[in-house]
Protein backbone atom coordinates (compact mmCIF):
# COMPACT_ATOMS: atom_id res chain seq x y z
CA UNK A 1 0.00 0.00 0.00
CA UNK A 2 1.21 3.49 -0.83
CA UNK A 3 2.31 5.95 1.80
CA UNK A 4 1.24 9.53 2.37
CA UNK A 5 3.52 12.56 2.44
CA UNK A 6 3.02 12.67 6.20
CA UNK A 7 3.97 9.03 6.73
CA UNK A 8 7.08 9.36 4.57
CA UNK A 9 8.22 12.45 6.47
CA UNK A 10 7.45 10.96 9.85
CA UNK A 11 9.33 7.73 9.13
CA UNK A 12 12.37 9.65 7.84
CA UNK A 13 12.86 11.22 11.27
CA UNK A 14 12.32 8.38 13.72
CA UNK A 15 15.41 7.86 15.87
CA UNK A 16 13.91 5.46 18.37
CA UNK A 17 10.64 3.88 19.45
CA UNK A 18 9.92 4.82 23.05
CA UNK A 19 7.01 2.43 23.50
CA UNK A 20 3.23 2.81 23.38
CA UNK A 21 3.17 4.99 20.29
CA UNK A 22 5.74 7.56 21.43
CA UNK A 23 8.73 8.18 19.21
CA UNK A 24 11.96 10.12 19.42
CA UNK A 25 12.28 12.20 16.25
CA UNK A 26 15.15 14.13 14.70
CA UNK A 27 14.62 17.89 14.41
CA UNK A 28 16.21 19.22 11.20
CA UNK A 29 15.31 22.88 11.64
CA UNK A 30 14.45 24.89 14.74
CA UNK A 31 13.29 28.50 14.86
CA UNK A 32 13.55 30.43 18.09
CA UNK A 33 11.64 33.59 18.96
CA UNK A 34 12.25 35.94 21.85
CA UNK A 35 9.02 35.13 23.68
CA UNK A 36 9.19 31.35 24.16
CA UNK A 37 12.87 31.09 23.25
CA UNK A 38 14.43 33.38 25.83
CA UNK A 39 12.74 31.47 28.69
CA UNK A 40 14.05 28.19 27.34
CA UNK A 41 17.54 29.57 26.82
CA UNK A 42 17.67 30.70 30.46
CA UNK A 43 16.37 27.33 31.68
CA UNK A 44 19.02 25.45 29.71
CA UNK A 45 21.76 27.83 30.87
CA UNK A 46 20.78 27.04 34.48
CA UNK A 47 21.33 23.35 33.72
CA UNK A 48 24.58 24.09 31.85
CA UNK A 49 23.04 22.63 28.67
CA UNK A 50 24.47 23.94 25.39
CA UNK A 51 22.69 23.62 22.02
CA UNK A 52 23.68 20.37 20.35
CA UNK A 53 23.61 21.96 16.86
CA UNK A 54 23.41 25.77 17.12
CA UNK A 55 23.62 26.10 13.32
CA UNK A 56 20.30 24.22 12.97
CA UNK A 57 18.52 26.86 15.06
CA UNK A 58 17.57 30.25 13.63
CA UNK A 59 16.73 33.02 16.10
CA UNK A 60 14.40 35.85 15.16
CA UNK A 61 12.92 38.81 17.03
CA UNK A 62 9.26 39.23 16.09
CA UNK A 63 6.70 38.98 18.92
CA UNK A 64 7.59 41.95 21.12
CA UNK A 65 9.42 44.21 18.67
CA UNK A 66 7.99 47.70 18.04
CA UNK A 67 6.48 48.14 14.57
CA UNK A 68 6.11 51.91 14.57
CA UNK A 69 7.87 53.47 11.58
CA UNK A 70 11.57 53.78 12.44
CA UNK A 71 11.13 51.26 15.30
CA UNK A 72 10.05 54.02 17.65
CA UNK A 73 7.64 53.27 20.45
CA UNK A 74 9.61 50.63 22.38
CA UNK A 75 8.13 51.74 25.66
CA UNK A 76 7.70 48.47 27.53
CA UNK A 77 10.61 47.67 29.85
CA UNK A 78 9.75 43.97 29.92
CA UNK A 79 10.02 43.77 26.13
CA UNK A 80 13.50 45.30 26.28
CA UNK A 81 14.42 42.87 29.03
CA UNK A 82 13.24 39.85 27.02
CA UNK A 83 15.16 41.03 23.96
CA UNK A 84 18.34 41.52 25.97
CA UNK A 85 18.18 37.97 27.34
CA UNK A 86 17.54 36.68 23.81
CA UNK A 87 20.54 38.57 22.40
CA UNK A 88 22.90 37.57 25.20
CA UNK A 89 21.97 33.89 25.22
CA UNK A 90 21.95 33.59 21.41
CA UNK A 91 25.42 35.13 21.23
CA UNK A 92 26.70 32.82 23.95
CA UNK A 93 25.17 29.78 22.21
CA UNK A 94 26.37 30.70 18.72
CA UNK A 95 22.82 30.96 17.32
CA UNK A 96 22.25 33.22 14.32
CA UNK A 97 19.84 35.92 15.52
CA UNK A 98 17.89 38.09 13.09
CA UNK A 99 17.57 41.11 15.32
CA UNK A 100 15.28 44.11 14.92
CA UNK A 101 17.36 45.95 12.35
CA UNK A 102 18.74 42.95 10.48
CA UNK A 103 17.90 43.15 6.75
CA UNK A 104 16.53 39.58 7.02
CA UNK A 105 14.39 40.16 10.15
CA UNK A 106 10.69 39.37 10.01
CA UNK A 107 7.94 37.20 11.43
CA UNK A 108 9.44 33.76 12.03
CA UNK A 109 6.96 31.92 9.79
CA UNK A 110 7.59 34.40 7.01
CA UNK A 111 11.39 34.33 7.17
CA UNK A 112 11.66 30.52 7.57
CA UNK A 113 10.42 29.87 4.03
CA UNK A 114 11.69 33.09 2.42
CA UNK A 115 15.28 32.42 3.59
CA UNK A 116 15.19 28.77 2.51
CA UNK A 117 15.73 27.68 6.12
CA UNK A 118 12.47 25.74 5.73
CA UNK A 119 12.82 22.99 3.14
CA UNK A 120 10.60 20.18 1.87
CA UNK A 121 11.00 17.00 3.87
CA UNK A 122 12.46 18.73 6.92
CA UNK A 123 11.09 18.29 10.42
CA UNK A 124 10.83 21.85 11.71
CA UNK A 125 9.62 23.00 15.12
CA UNK A 126 9.35 26.37 16.81
CA UNK A 127 7.88 27.67 20.05
CA UNK A 128 4.84 29.13 18.35
CA UNK A 129 1.61 27.44 17.33
CA UNK A 130 1.64 28.85 13.79
CA UNK A 131 4.77 26.89 12.92
CA UNK A 132 2.38 24.75 10.83
CA UNK A 133 2.73 27.53 8.22
CA UNK A 134 6.01 25.94 7.12
CA UNK A 135 4.11 22.84 5.97
CA UNK A 136 3.29 24.80 2.81
CA UNK A 137 6.70 23.78 1.46
CA UNK A 138 6.17 20.12 2.28
CA UNK A 139 7.89 20.30 5.67
CA UNK A 140 6.67 18.42 8.74
CA UNK A 141 6.28 21.41 11.04
CA UNK A 142 4.53 22.13 14.29
CA UNK A 143 4.50 24.46 17.28
CA UNK A 144 5.94 23.47 20.64
CA UNK A 145 6.05 24.76 24.22
CA UNK A 146 9.02 26.24 26.07
CA UNK A 147 10.00 22.95 27.75
CA UNK A 148 10.11 21.32 24.33
CA UNK A 149 12.26 24.22 23.06
CA UNK A 150 14.74 23.33 25.84
CA UNK A 151 14.61 19.71 24.69
CA UNK A 152 15.19 20.58 21.02
CA UNK A 153 18.07 22.93 21.78
CA UNK A 154 19.87 20.41 23.96
CA UNK A 155 19.23 17.23 21.96
CA UNK A 156 18.13 18.22 18.42
CA UNK A 157 15.21 15.82 18.94
CA UNK A 158 11.61 15.83 20.06
CA UNK A 159 9.34 13.19 21.63
CA UNK A 160 5.93 12.84 20.00
CA UNK A 161 3.05 10.43 19.64
CA UNK A 162 2.30 9.91 15.95
CA UNK A 163 -0.89 11.79 15.03
CA UNK A 164 -3.57 10.30 12.79
CA UNK A 165 -3.58 11.42 9.17
CA UNK A 166 -6.22 13.48 7.39
CA UNK A 167 -6.57 14.68 3.83
CA UNK A 168 -8.58 17.82 3.16
CA UNK A 169 -9.49 18.13 -0.52
CA UNK A 170 -10.43 21.44 -2.06
CA UNK A 171 -12.23 20.69 -5.28
CA UNK A 172 -13.44 23.05 -7.96
CA UNK A 173 -11.89 26.30 -9.11
CA UNK A 174 -11.56 29.28 -6.83
CA UNK A 175 -13.95 32.05 -7.91
CA UNK A 176 -12.38 35.48 -8.58
CA UNK A 177 -11.83 37.48 -5.39
CA UNK A 178 -11.76 34.37 -3.20
CA UNK A 179 -8.39 33.64 -1.60
CA UNK A 180 -6.55 30.98 0.39
CA UNK A 181 -7.70 32.75 3.57
CA UNK A 182 -11.33 32.37 2.53
CA UNK A 183 -10.82 28.70 1.65
CA UNK A 184 -9.41 27.86 5.04
CA UNK A 185 -11.90 29.93 7.03
CA UNK A 186 -14.69 28.16 5.13
CA UNK A 187 -13.16 24.76 5.95
CA UNK A 188 -12.89 25.68 9.64
CA UNK A 189 -16.45 26.99 9.54
CA UNK A 190 -17.65 23.69 8.10
CA UNK A 191 -15.78 21.30 10.41
CA UNK A 192 -15.12 23.47 13.49
CA UNK A 193 -11.98 24.31 15.44
CA UNK A 194 -11.80 20.72 16.69
CA UNK A 195 -12.28 19.34 13.16
CA UNK A 196 -8.71 18.12 12.83
CA UNK A 197 -7.80 17.56 16.49
CA UNK A 198 -5.26 14.74 16.76
CA UNK A 199 -4.52 14.75 13.01
CA UNK A 200 -1.77 15.86 10.66
CA UNK A 201 -3.57 17.37 7.68
CA UNK A 202 -2.51 17.26 4.04
CA UNK A 203 -4.28 19.82 1.87
CA UNK A 204 -4.88 18.50 -1.62
CA UNK A 205 -7.07 18.90 -4.66
CA UNK A 206 -7.10 21.00 -7.81
CA UNK A 207 -7.54 24.30 -5.96
CA UNK A 208 -4.38 23.66 -3.89
CA UNK A 209 -2.24 22.84 -6.93
CA UNK A 210 -3.38 26.14 -8.43
CA UNK A 211 -2.43 28.12 -5.30
CA UNK A 212 0.90 29.90 -5.30
CA UNK A 213 3.33 29.12 -2.46
CA UNK A 214 2.37 32.15 -0.36
CA UNK A 215 -1.30 31.19 -0.55
CA UNK A 216 -0.37 27.68 0.61
CA UNK A 217 1.37 29.29 3.59
CA UNK A 218 -1.85 31.10 4.51
CA UNK A 219 -3.69 27.81 4.22
CA UNK A 220 -1.25 25.80 6.34
CA UNK A 221 -0.97 28.66 8.85
CA UNK A 222 -4.60 28.21 9.88
CA UNK A 223 -4.19 24.46 10.50
CA UNK A 224 -3.91 25.13 14.23
CA UNK A 225 -7.26 26.96 14.09
CA UNK A 226 -8.63 23.79 12.46
CA UNK A 227 -7.37 21.86 15.53
CA UNK A 228 -4.28 20.34 13.87
CA UNK A 229 -0.72 20.96 15.00
CA UNK A 230 0.49 19.94 11.53
CA UNK A 231 -0.74 21.04 8.10
CA UNK A 232 1.07 20.41 4.85
CA UNK A 233 0.98 20.65 1.06
CA UNK A 234 2.99 18.26 -1.09
CA UNK A 235 5.99 19.96 -2.72
CA UNK A 236 5.80 20.47 -6.50
CA UNK A 237 7.52 22.47 -9.24
CA UNK A 238 6.18 25.71 -7.73
CA UNK A 239 7.84 24.80 -4.42
CA UNK A 240 11.22 24.12 -6.01
CA UNK A 241 11.08 27.30 -8.12
CA UNK A 242 10.21 29.27 -4.97
CA UNK A 243 13.18 27.87 -3.01
CA UNK A 244 15.96 27.86 -5.61
CA UNK A 245 18.70 30.36 -4.76
CA UNK A 246 17.38 31.35 -1.34
CA UNK A 247 19.95 32.07 1.36
CA UNK A 248 19.82 28.81 3.34
CA UNK A 249 18.64 26.54 0.50
CA UNK A 250 21.14 23.97 -0.77
CA UNK A 251 23.22 25.01 -3.80
CA UNK A 252 24.90 23.22 -6.72
CA UNK A 253 25.20 19.46 -6.44
CA UNK A 254 23.51 19.50 -3.02
CA UNK A 255 20.48 21.17 -4.60
CA UNK A 256 20.25 18.44 -7.24
CA UNK A 257 20.54 15.75 -4.59
CA UNK A 258 17.91 17.42 -2.41
CA UNK A 259 15.59 17.91 -5.38
CA UNK A 260 15.74 14.22 -6.28
CA UNK A 261 14.81 13.40 -2.68
CA UNK A 262 11.99 15.96 -2.55
CA UNK A 263 10.40 14.49 -5.69
CA UNK A 264 9.90 11.20 -3.82
CA UNK A 265 7.91 12.83 -1.01
CA UNK A 266 4.38 13.50 -2.34
CA UNK A 267 1.70 11.05 -1.28
CA UNK A 268 1.47 7.93 -3.42
CA UNK A 269 -1.75 7.71 -5.48
CA UNK A 270 -2.99 4.81 -3.34
CA UNK A 271 -2.01 6.36 0.01
CA UNK A 272 -4.64 5.90 2.73
CA UNK A 273 -5.64 8.51 5.28
CA UNK A 274 -7.33 7.94 8.61
CA UNK A 275 -9.85 10.60 7.68
CA UNK A 276 -10.87 12.47 4.53
CA UNK A 277 -12.78 15.75 4.37
CA UNK A 278 -13.66 17.90 1.38
CA UNK A 279 -14.80 21.37 0.46
CA UNK A 280 -16.21 22.50 -2.88
CA UNK A 281 -14.61 25.85 -3.69
CA UNK A 282 -16.65 26.76 -6.73
CA UNK A 283 -19.46 28.52 -4.88
CA UNK A 284 -17.36 30.23 -2.19
CA UNK A 285 -17.59 33.93 -1.37
CA UNK A 286 -15.11 35.95 0.75
CA UNK A 287 -15.35 34.89 4.39
CA UNK A 288 -15.49 37.06 7.52
CA UNK A 289 -15.76 35.90 11.14
CA UNK A 290 -18.58 37.20 13.34
CA UNK A 291 -17.76 35.63 16.74
CA UNK A 292 -14.86 34.86 19.06
CA UNK A 293 -13.64 31.61 17.49
CA UNK A 294 -12.34 31.15 13.94
CA UNK A 295 -15.17 28.65 13.37
CA UNK A 296 -17.67 31.52 13.77
CA UNK A 297 -17.50 32.45 10.12
CA UNK A 298 -19.90 33.29 7.27
CA UNK A 299 -19.74 34.72 3.77
CA UNK A 300 -19.40 38.48 3.69
CA UNK A 301 -22.91 38.59 2.17
CA UNK A 302 -24.40 36.57 5.05
CA UNK A 303 -26.45 37.39 8.14
CA UNK A 304 -25.34 36.93 11.77
CA UNK A 305 -26.58 33.51 12.92
CA UNK A 306 -28.60 32.97 16.08
CA UNK A 307 -25.80 31.12 17.85
CA UNK A 308 -23.34 31.65 20.75
CA UNK A 309 -25.10 34.54 22.57
CA UNK A 310 -22.04 35.19 24.75
CA UNK A 311 -19.84 35.68 21.67
CA UNK A 312 -22.43 37.93 20.01
CA UNK A 313 -22.70 40.06 23.15
CA UNK A 314 -18.92 40.45 23.23
CA UNK A 315 -18.89 41.34 19.53
CA UNK A 316 -21.83 43.75 19.86
CA UNK A 317 -23.83 41.99 17.12
CA UNK A 318 -27.41 40.72 16.90
CA UNK A 319 -28.77 37.59 15.21
CA UNK A 320 -30.26 38.26 11.79
CA UNK A 321 -28.41 41.48 11.05
CA UNK A 322 -26.37 41.54 7.85
CA UNK A 323 -22.62 41.33 8.51
CA UNK A 324 -21.90 43.79 5.70
CA UNK A 325 -22.52 47.37 6.78
CA UNK A 326 -21.18 46.83 10.32
CA UNK A 327 -19.18 49.95 11.18
CA UNK A 328 -15.51 49.36 12.01
CA UNK A 329 -12.78 51.32 13.80
CA UNK A 330 -9.58 49.63 12.69
CA UNK A 331 -7.99 47.52 10.00
CA UNK A 332 -4.89 45.40 10.49
CA UNK A 333 -3.14 43.92 7.46
CA UNK A 334 -0.27 41.75 8.63
CA UNK A 335 0.66 38.63 10.72
CA UNK A 336 2.16 35.26 9.79
CA UNK A 337 -1.16 34.49 8.06
CA UNK A 338 -1.30 37.34 5.54
CA UNK A 339 1.72 39.69 5.42
CA UNK A 340 3.61 38.45 2.38
CA UNK A 341 4.14 40.28 -0.89
CA UNK A 342 1.12 38.71 -2.62
CA UNK A 343 -1.06 39.69 0.36
CA UNK A 344 0.15 43.28 0.21
CA UNK A 345 -0.38 43.38 -3.57
CA UNK A 346 -3.96 42.21 -3.11
CA UNK A 347 -4.61 44.86 -0.47
CA UNK A 348 -2.88 47.57 -2.52
CA UNK A 349 -4.97 46.73 -5.58
CA UNK A 350 -8.04 47.69 -3.51
CA UNK A 351 -6.38 50.70 -1.83
CA UNK A 352 -5.02 52.22 -5.04
CA UNK A 353 -6.70 55.53 -5.77
CA UNK A 354 -9.03 55.23 -2.77
CA UNK A 355 -9.04 56.68 0.77
CA UNK A 356 -9.36 54.98 4.14
CA UNK A 357 -12.61 56.14 5.77
CA UNK A 358 -12.03 59.10 8.10
CA UNK A 359 -13.06 57.23 11.27
CA UNK A 360 -10.84 54.18 10.58
CA UNK A 361 -7.21 53.67 11.64
CA UNK A 362 -5.64 51.24 9.18
CA UNK A 363 -2.23 49.60 9.40
CA UNK A 364 -0.10 47.58 7.02
CA UNK A 365 2.65 45.60 8.75
CA UNK A 366 4.84 43.73 6.24
CA UNK A 367 5.87 40.23 7.28
CA UNK A 368 9.58 40.77 6.88
CA UNK A 369 12.23 43.32 5.94
CA UNK A 370 12.51 41.55 2.59
CA UNK A 371 8.76 41.77 1.99
CA UNK A 372 8.96 45.43 2.95
CA UNK A 373 11.83 46.08 0.51
CA UNK A 374 10.11 44.23 -2.33
CA UNK A 375 6.82 46.02 -1.69
CA UNK A 376 8.57 49.38 -1.63
CA UNK A 377 10.38 48.56 -4.88
CA UNK A 378 6.92 48.18 -6.45
CA UNK A 379 5.71 51.39 -4.82
CA UNK A 380 3.10 49.64 -2.68
CA UNK A 381 4.05 51.71 0.38
CA UNK A 382 3.17 54.86 -1.57
CA UNK A 383 -0.18 53.37 -2.56
CA UNK A 384 -0.96 52.58 1.08
CA UNK A 385 0.27 55.91 2.43
CA UNK A 386 -1.61 57.88 -0.21
CA UNK A 387 -4.77 56.02 0.81
CA UNK A 388 -4.21 56.83 4.49
CA UNK A 389 -2.80 53.51 5.74
CA UNK A 390 0.15 53.43 8.14
CA UNK A 391 3.14 51.63 6.60
CA UNK A 392 4.98 50.00 9.51
CA UNK A 393 8.00 47.85 10.37
CA UNK A 394 7.89 44.01 10.33
CA UNK A 395 6.73 42.08 13.40
CA UNK A 396 3.80 40.17 14.89
CA UNK A 397 2.24 43.50 15.86
CA UNK A 398 -1.53 43.67 16.35
CA UNK A 399 -2.07 39.95 15.84
CA UNK A 400 -0.59 39.12 19.23
CA UNK A 401 -0.57 42.57 20.87
CA UNK A 402 2.66 41.96 22.79
CA UNK A 403 4.30 45.24 21.85
CA UNK A 404 1.70 47.89 22.59
CA UNK A 405 0.09 47.37 19.15
CA UNK A 406 -3.42 47.00 20.56
CA UNK A 407 -7.02 47.43 19.51
CA UNK A 408 -8.85 49.49 22.14
CA UNK A 409 -11.70 48.21 24.34
CA UNK A 410 -14.92 47.92 22.34
CA UNK A 411 -13.19 48.83 19.08
CA UNK A 412 -13.98 46.74 16.03
CA UNK A 413 -11.05 45.59 13.90
CA UNK A 414 -11.02 43.78 10.57
CA UNK A 415 -7.80 41.80 10.75
CA UNK A 416 -5.94 39.53 8.34
CA UNK A 417 -4.54 37.59 11.34
CA UNK A 418 -5.63 34.20 12.65
CA UNK A 419 -7.35 34.57 16.03
CA UNK A 420 -10.52 36.44 16.94
CA UNK A 421 -10.38 35.26 20.57
CA UNK A 422 -11.80 37.40 23.38
CA UNK A 423 -9.12 39.99 24.20
CA UNK A 424 -6.57 38.61 21.76
CA UNK A 425 -5.93 41.99 20.09
CA UNK A 426 -6.38 43.83 23.39
CA UNK A 427 -8.85 43.67 26.30
CA UNK A 428 -12.36 44.19 24.93
CA UNK A 429 -11.18 44.24 21.30
CA UNK A 430 -13.62 42.91 18.68
CA UNK A 431 -11.86 41.09 15.85
CA UNK A 432 -13.21 40.08 12.45
CA UNK A 433 -10.85 37.80 10.54
CA UNK A 434 -10.74 38.27 6.78
CA UNK A 435 -8.47 38.24 3.72
CA UNK A 436 -6.18 41.17 2.82
CA UNK A 437 -8.49 42.25 -0.03
CA UNK A 438 -11.52 42.21 2.26
CA UNK A 439 -9.63 44.07 5.00
CA UNK A 440 -8.49 46.78 2.59
CA UNK A 441 -12.02 47.16 1.22
CA UNK A 442 -13.41 47.47 4.76
CA UNK A 443 -10.86 50.19 5.54
CA UNK A 444 -12.04 52.19 2.55
CA UNK A 445 -15.75 51.63 3.20
CA UNK A 446 -15.44 52.22 6.97
CA UNK A 447 -17.62 49.16 7.45
CA UNK A 448 -17.57 45.47 6.67
CA UNK A 449 -17.96 45.17 2.93
CA UNK A 450 -17.48 42.85 -0.03
CA UNK A 451 -14.28 43.79 -1.88
CA UNK A 452 -15.77 42.43 -5.11
CA UNK A 453 -18.49 45.08 -5.16
CA UNK A 454 -16.45 48.08 -4.01
Amino acid sequence: MGRSLFEKLWDLHVIAELGDGMQLLHVDRHILNELSGSRAQLDNAKRSLKPRHPQLTLGVADHVVPTEPGRAGDKTPWAKNVMQIFRDESRRDGILLLDVNDPDQGIEHVIGPESGFTLPGTLLVCGDSHTCTNGALGALAWGIGSSEVCHVLATQTIVQPKPRSMRARFEGALPPGVTAKDLMLALIGKYGTTGALGHAVEYAGAAIRELEIEGRMTLCNLSIEFGAKIGMVAPDEKTYAYLKGRRHAPQGALWDQALAHWRTLPSDPDARFDREVALDCSGLVPQVTWGTSPEDVIGVDGRIPDLKPEALAYMGLSPGQPLAGTRIDRVFIGSCTNSRLSDLRAAAAIARGRRVAAHVEAWVVPGSMRVKREAEAEGLHEVFRAAGFQWREPGCSMCVGANGDLVGPGERCVSTSNRNFVGRQGPGARTHLASPATAAACAVAGEITDARTL
Partner: protein, 199 residues
Protein backbone atom coordinates in the same frame (compact mmCIF):
# COMPACT_ATOMS: atom_id res chain seq x y z
CA UNK B 1 9.18 17.79 38.61
CA UNK B 2 6.65 17.15 41.37
CA UNK B 3 5.41 13.54 41.41
CA UNK B 4 1.73 12.91 40.86
CA UNK B 5 0.33 10.22 43.14
CA UNK B 6 -3.21 10.29 44.45
CA UNK B 7 -4.83 13.70 44.60
CA UNK B 8 -7.82 14.45 46.83
CA UNK B 9 -8.93 18.03 46.32
CA UNK B 10 -11.76 20.39 45.44
CA UNK B 11 -12.82 20.32 41.79
CA UNK B 12 -14.13 23.41 40.01
CA UNK B 13 -16.38 23.32 36.95
CA UNK B 14 -15.73 25.79 34.13
CA UNK B 15 -17.95 24.65 31.27
CA UNK B 16 -16.97 27.24 28.64
CA UNK B 17 -15.86 25.57 25.39
CA UNK B 18 -12.79 26.55 23.33
CA UNK B 19 -11.04 28.23 26.28
CA UNK B 20 -7.90 29.51 24.56
CA UNK B 21 -4.48 30.05 26.09
CA UNK B 22 -4.79 33.81 25.47
CA UNK B 23 -7.71 33.76 27.91
CA UNK B 24 -5.72 31.67 30.40
CA UNK B 25 -2.75 34.06 30.34
CA UNK B 26 -2.44 37.36 28.51
CA UNK B 27 0.59 37.83 26.29
CA UNK B 28 1.91 40.78 28.33
CA UNK B 29 2.22 38.45 31.35
CA UNK B 30 4.06 35.84 29.28
CA UNK B 31 7.09 38.00 28.82
CA UNK B 32 6.94 40.37 31.72
CA UNK B 33 6.16 38.10 34.68
CA UNK B 34 8.41 35.55 36.40
CA UNK B 35 7.08 31.99 36.21
CA UNK B 36 6.50 31.85 39.98
CA UNK B 37 4.37 35.01 39.87
CA UNK B 38 1.99 33.98 37.07
CA UNK B 39 -0.73 32.46 39.32
CA UNK B 40 -2.62 35.69 40.12
CA UNK B 41 -2.77 36.49 36.37
CA UNK B 42 -4.40 33.22 35.30
CA UNK B 43 -7.77 33.97 33.61
CA UNK B 44 -7.36 37.67 34.43
CA UNK B 45 -9.85 38.84 31.80
CA UNK B 46 -12.69 36.81 33.38
CA UNK B 47 -11.38 36.66 36.94
CA UNK B 48 -11.22 40.40 37.65
CA UNK B 49 -13.50 43.33 36.85
CA UNK B 50 -12.09 46.35 35.02
CA UNK B 51 -11.46 48.02 38.42
CA UNK B 52 -9.28 45.10 39.49
CA UNK B 53 -11.73 43.60 41.99
CA UNK B 54 -12.64 39.92 41.84
CA UNK B 55 -15.61 38.96 39.68
CA UNK B 56 -17.79 36.68 41.86
CA UNK B 57 -19.19 35.14 38.69
CA UNK B 58 -15.85 33.36 38.13
CA UNK B 59 -15.79 29.99 39.88
CA UNK B 60 -12.29 30.34 41.36
CA UNK B 61 -13.42 33.51 43.19
CA UNK B 62 -16.01 31.58 45.23
CA UNK B 63 -15.77 29.22 48.19
CA UNK B 64 -14.93 26.38 48.29
CA UNK B 65 -13.43 26.56 44.77
CA UNK B 66 -10.75 29.08 45.70
CA UNK B 67 -8.82 26.05 46.90
CA UNK B 68 -9.57 23.91 43.83
CA UNK B 69 -6.71 21.79 42.52
CA UNK B 70 -8.83 20.07 39.87
CA UNK B 71 -10.52 21.81 36.93
CA UNK B 72 -13.38 20.20 35.00
CA UNK B 73 -13.45 22.06 31.70
CA UNK B 74 -15.28 22.23 28.36
CA UNK B 75 -14.34 20.93 24.96
CA UNK B 76 -11.04 22.00 23.32
CA UNK B 77 -9.59 23.45 26.53
CA UNK B 78 -6.25 25.21 26.00
CA UNK B 79 -6.72 25.78 22.27
CA UNK B 80 -4.63 28.33 20.39
CA UNK B 81 -1.22 29.72 21.24
CA UNK B 82 1.61 27.39 22.27
CA UNK B 83 2.48 29.58 25.27
CA UNK B 84 3.53 27.25 28.07
CA UNK B 85 2.94 30.15 30.46
CA UNK B 86 -0.72 29.08 30.37
CA UNK B 87 0.23 25.82 32.08
CA UNK B 88 2.62 27.59 34.46
CA UNK B 89 -0.13 30.05 35.43
CA UNK B 90 -2.67 27.27 36.09
CA UNK B 91 -0.10 25.31 38.10
CA UNK B 92 0.80 28.40 40.16
CA UNK B 93 -2.90 28.98 40.74
CA UNK B 94 -2.78 25.57 42.42
CA UNK B 95 -4.14 23.23 39.74
CA UNK B 96 -2.72 19.69 39.51
CA UNK B 97 -5.31 18.13 37.20
CA UNK B 98 -7.54 19.28 34.31
CA UNK B 99 -10.38 17.10 33.00
CA UNK B 100 -12.03 17.87 29.64
CA UNK B 101 -13.57 16.12 26.61
CA UNK B 102 -10.68 17.39 24.47
CA UNK B 103 -7.68 19.69 24.67
CA UNK B 104 -5.67 21.95 22.42
CA UNK B 105 -2.86 19.63 21.41
CA UNK B 106 0.11 21.83 22.25
CA UNK B 107 -1.42 22.68 25.62
CA UNK B 108 -1.95 18.97 26.31
CA UNK B 109 1.75 18.28 25.69
CA UNK B 110 2.78 21.27 27.80
CA UNK B 111 0.74 19.94 30.75
CA UNK B 112 2.73 16.73 30.75
CA UNK B 113 6.00 18.65 30.70
CA UNK B 114 4.98 20.34 33.94
CA UNK B 115 3.45 17.53 35.94
CA UNK B 116 -0.11 18.75 35.36
CA UNK B 117 -2.34 15.73 34.71
CA UNK B 118 -4.62 16.38 31.70
CA UNK B 119 -7.40 13.79 31.44
CA UNK B 120 -9.61 13.26 28.39
CA UNK B 121 -13.05 11.80 29.15
CA UNK B 122 -16.21 11.39 27.05
CA UNK B 123 -18.38 14.53 27.04
CA UNK B 124 -21.25 12.95 29.00
CA UNK B 125 -18.82 11.83 31.72
CA UNK B 126 -17.35 15.34 31.91
CA UNK B 127 -20.88 16.77 32.25
CA UNK B 128 -21.58 14.40 35.13
CA UNK B 129 -18.34 15.43 36.87
CA UNK B 130 -19.21 19.10 36.30
CA UNK B 131 -22.52 18.59 38.07
CA UNK B 132 -20.72 17.01 41.03
CA UNK B 133 -18.10 19.78 41.09
CA UNK B 134 -20.78 22.47 41.05
CA UNK B 135 -22.19 21.47 44.47
CA UNK B 136 -19.85 22.07 47.46
CA UNK B 137 -20.97 18.82 49.12
CA UNK B 138 -19.82 16.71 46.16
CA UNK B 139 -16.96 18.87 44.84
CA UNK B 140 -14.14 16.94 46.51
CA UNK B 141 -12.69 14.47 44.00
CA UNK B 142 -10.02 11.84 44.33
CA UNK B 143 -7.83 11.31 41.26
CA UNK B 144 -5.75 8.13 41.46
CA UNK B 145 -3.19 8.11 38.64
CA UNK B 146 -1.80 4.65 39.40
CA UNK B 147 -5.29 3.08 39.17
CA UNK B 148 -6.41 5.56 36.49
CA UNK B 149 -9.63 6.37 38.32
CA UNK B 150 -11.58 9.42 39.44
CA UNK B 151 -13.58 8.94 42.67
CA UNK B 152 -12.80 5.24 42.55
CA UNK B 153 -15.19 4.47 39.71
CA UNK B 154 -14.64 6.65 36.66
CA UNK B 155 -11.79 5.18 34.67
CA UNK B 156 -9.57 7.31 32.43
CA UNK B 157 -7.00 6.41 29.79
CA UNK B 158 -3.39 7.54 29.79
CA UNK B 159 -0.46 6.12 27.85
CA UNK B 160 2.14 4.21 29.89
CA UNK B 161 5.03 6.60 29.21
CA UNK B 162 3.31 9.85 30.28
CA UNK B 163 1.86 7.96 33.23
CA UNK B 164 5.28 6.84 34.39
CA UNK B 165 6.71 10.34 33.87
CA UNK B 166 3.99 11.85 36.06
CA UNK B 167 4.11 9.14 38.72
CA UNK B 168 7.88 9.33 39.06
CA UNK B 169 8.23 13.06 38.39
CA UNK B 170 10.53 12.38 35.44
CA UNK B 171 11.82 15.07 33.15
CA UNK B 172 11.69 14.26 29.44
CA UNK B 173 14.88 16.14 28.64
CA UNK B 174 16.78 14.10 31.24
CA UNK B 175 15.52 10.87 29.65
CA UNK B 176 16.51 11.95 26.13
CA UNK B 177 19.98 13.16 27.16
CA UNK B 178 20.64 9.56 28.16
CA UNK B 179 19.89 8.53 24.55
CA UNK B 180 22.87 10.38 23.09
CA UNK B 181 24.27 7.21 21.42
CA UNK B 182 20.98 6.66 19.52
CA UNK B 183 20.91 10.29 18.38
CA UNK B 184 24.53 10.15 17.21
CA UNK B 185 23.88 6.88 15.37
CA UNK B 186 20.85 8.36 13.60
CA UNK B 187 22.79 11.40 12.45
CA UNK B 188 25.70 9.22 11.24
CA UNK B 189 23.18 7.26 9.12
CA UNK B 190 21.25 10.35 8.00
CA UNK B 191 24.14 12.66 7.08
CA UNK B 192 25.12 10.86 3.87
CA UNK B 193 21.44 10.32 3.02
CA UNK B 194 20.45 14.00 3.46
CA UNK B 195 23.70 16.04 3.59
CA UNK B 196 21.89 19.35 2.89
CA UNK B 197 20.16 19.12 6.26
CA UNK B 198 23.33 19.58 8.31
CA UNK B 199 24.19 23.24 7.78
Amino acid sequence: MEKFGTLTAIAAAYPKVNVDTDLIIRVERCAGTPREALGPWAFEMVRYRPDGSEDPGFVFNREPWREAKILVAGENFGTGSSREMAVWALARMGLRCVIAPSFGEIFFGNCLQNGLLAIRLPADEVRRLMALASAPASATFTVDLARQTINGTTRFEISPRPKRMLLEGLDELGLTLAMEPEIAAFQAMDRPRRPWIYL
